[in-house]
């Protein structure tokens, strides 16, 4: 149920983000979700893409410092309190969120969010038990 996120270490230099995105675009890799954590001189770009293995190999071949992290993608009702409901389940089960971000697109009346948990297995079990929809890798690919 976990999906693969690609993290890229990028120094804060003009045009560097463009280089990453054009490399992926030229190779027909589609970005589904994206987030950047940054400080003054560097940042980490986090990506969920349709073809993660291919993207990782491609980035490494171009000497980008990249690696993968397991994350969980969740469907959240796109209505007031939708996110709070999911977070309650996570909190009640003593799981901590290291970071989270939203998808570029959404399907129907559901919003898609990506979570990095300190304990992904516990989180997945708890979410399932509470009937919260977890998005699989193949579903992401066909978005």
């Amino acid at each position: 149920m976990k999906i693969m996120q690609i993290s890229i270490f990028l120094e804060n230099r003009k045009g560097r983000l463009h280089e990453v995105t054009s490399l992926l675009g030229n190779n027909k890799i589609n970005i589904r979700a994206l987030n950047i954590a940054e400080t003054g001189d560097f940042g980490v770009m986090r990506l969920v893409v349709d073809k993660p293995q291919e993207a990782l190999a491609l980035l490494k071949s171009k000497n980008f410092v990249a690696s993968t992290t397991d994350i969980v993608a969740i469907e959240v009702a796109d209505k007031p309190g939708g996110l709070a409901e999911v977070l309650k389940t996570i909190t009640d089960n003593n799981v901590n969120i290291e970071y989270m971000y939203g998808f570029v697109e959404k399907r129907s009346d559901q919003a898609l969010l990506v979570f990095r948990f300190d304990n992904a297995d516990n989180a997945v079990a708890a979410l399932k038990q509470n009937g919260i929809k977890i998005v699989t890798e193949s579903e992401i690919k066909s978005l």
């Binding site: 270490f9 120094e11 954590a37 560097f42 410092v65 970071y99």
Partner: protein, 439 residues
């Protein structure tokens, strides 16, 4: 203002007598040095078996040079000429590869050092009427304790404030009507900028003199500090291997620094060929301490570039003067008065597998103070994908570097291949501080 002397006789001794005194003390120092394991071997290899082998200054060339590397190899006791029971203090300086150097002092050594510092301060017109706030670092660094002892001997009221904590420095200056301070030139510029922030004006202070040392600076910087504060600024020269401050000092004429030649024998050599250079030629200063008991050091290569001024000084002292330090003949860098070798930084980076071996040391000014930035490259295999891990790595590097070089660096993480690959050491250091060495 007429010249004030601390020991008029020795300070104005005619050259002939001064040189005779130097030769006599040089011979005694060689005999003292022969008691150390290092010199016993080094001097006998060179055919110098006793001080009497030096008949004239022409024979000085028989004495091999001593380098910082020699001192490191002799650590900890290779240069000790007395029983440790007779040692009352030691100073160490950090080494480039983890091995420090040590200089030991007997009670008499400390007394003679303090005397030279008192003589230096007196040469600027300082007296027991002065309140002296010593803003140099105390401890293993010799700058603080050296002038402290000299100022006490002279009878100044000493405020051992140490370095840093600018608001408190200014409070002390105001409360106790400090008339003289000892600091790095960059710190004085910083201090000036903070006066207003502390709600003070220059008229709240009683400052008349400042002693600056520990880092190279231009005549322009001296004049700037003088005009900002409305004071006299005197240049000080020393190095821990030769005690510390009190090796050479400016007098009221403020034209180059008198080397106290009754206590030091100074030579200028070509740092490449090691040939002695004639009067007026710029080269590396080589010093022999002439009165030290615990740690005699002969012909020490200071790596400082300067020139000996032969001309008579207006103050009447006969001791020759050296010009302000023009630079270094090695790759040592000085950051806010602290000496750092790039190899120290390199050694730290080598111990951390998460960063590659390519690095750059970048120096610039932030307001008046020096800023040291260490740029490193993240090793691809060490990247876990976690942003937090990178911040931890950066803090870890900062901590390791601080404990090695005693200066808080800025650490930057870069992508592999982002920094220029250099084969020579010099290219690894980019110094954007203006004024650093320009005359």
């Amino acid at each position: 203002m007429s010249a004030v002397f601390w020991e008029k006789e020795v300070e104005t001794l005619c050259r002939e007598k001064l040189e005779a005194l130097q030769l006599q003390r040089l011979r005694a120092t060689i005999d003292q040095a022969l008691k150390t394991p290092f010199y016993k071997k080094r001097l006998s290899q060179a055919g110098v078996l006793s001080g009497n082998d030096i008949a004239s200054f022409g024979d000085v060339r028989k004495i091999p040079y001593t380098t910082k590397d020699d001192l490191r190899q002799g650590f900890p006791y290779g240069f000790l000429a007395v029983n440790t029971d007779d040692v009352i203090r030691l100073h160490t300086s950090s080494g480039t590869t983890g091995t420090p150097t040590a200089v030991y002092h007997t009670r008499d050594d400390i007394a003679r050092w303090a005397n030279l510092c008192a003589r230096s301060l007196a040469a600027t017109g300082a007296s027991q009427r002065d309140v002296f706030q010593n803003m140099m670092t105390y401890g293993l660094f010799t700058g603080g304790l050296g002038l402290h002892y000299g100022a006490e001997l002279l009878g100044m009221m000493v405020i051992p404030s140490g370095s840093g904590n600018t608001p408190r420095q200014l409070q002390l200056m105001r409360h106790f009507r400090t008339t003289a301070v000892h600091a790095t030139p960059s710190y004085l510029l910083h201090l000036f900028g903070e006066i207003e922030k502390e709600g003070l004006t220059l008229s709240d202070l009683c400052l008349t003199k400042a002693y600056v040392g520990a880092e190279p600076h231009s005549e322009g910087i001296r004049r700037k500090i003088e005009s900002l504060f409305g004071i006299d600024v005197y240049n000080s020269y020393g190095l821990s291997e030769m005690n510390g401050p009190g090796v050479a000092f400016e007098c009221i004429a403020k034209e180059c620094m008198h080397v106290w030649e009754d206590s030091y024998y100074a030579e200028i050599v070509d740092p490449g060929t090691l040939e002695a250079l004639g009067p007026g030629r710029e080269g590396e200063l080589v010093l022999t301490a002439l009165t030290r008991q615990a740690t005699p050091i002969l012909r020490y290569r200071t790596r400082d570039l300067t020139v000996i001024e032969e001309g008579q000084c207006a103050c009447g002292r006969t001791h020759r003067r050296i010009a302000r330090i023009k630079g270094r003949s090695d790759d040592m860098i000085i950051v806010n008065g602290v000496n750092i070798f790039p190899s120290q930084i390199e050694a730290v980076l080598m111990r951390v597998p998460e960063v590659g071996t390519n690095y750059q040391i970048y120096l610039d000014k932030q307001a008046s103070l020096d800023r040291l930035t260490v740029k490193t490259e993240v090793a691809p295999e060490a990247f876990t994908g976690e942003f937090v891990a990178l911040e931890k790595l950066r803090n870890h590097l900062k901590h390791l570097l601080k404990s090695e070089i005693l200066v808080n660096p800025v650490v930057e993480l870069h992508e592999p291949g982002a920094l220029p690959v250099s084969t020579g050491k010099a290219v690894r250091v980019v110094d954007q501080r203006n004024e650093a060495y320009c005359g």
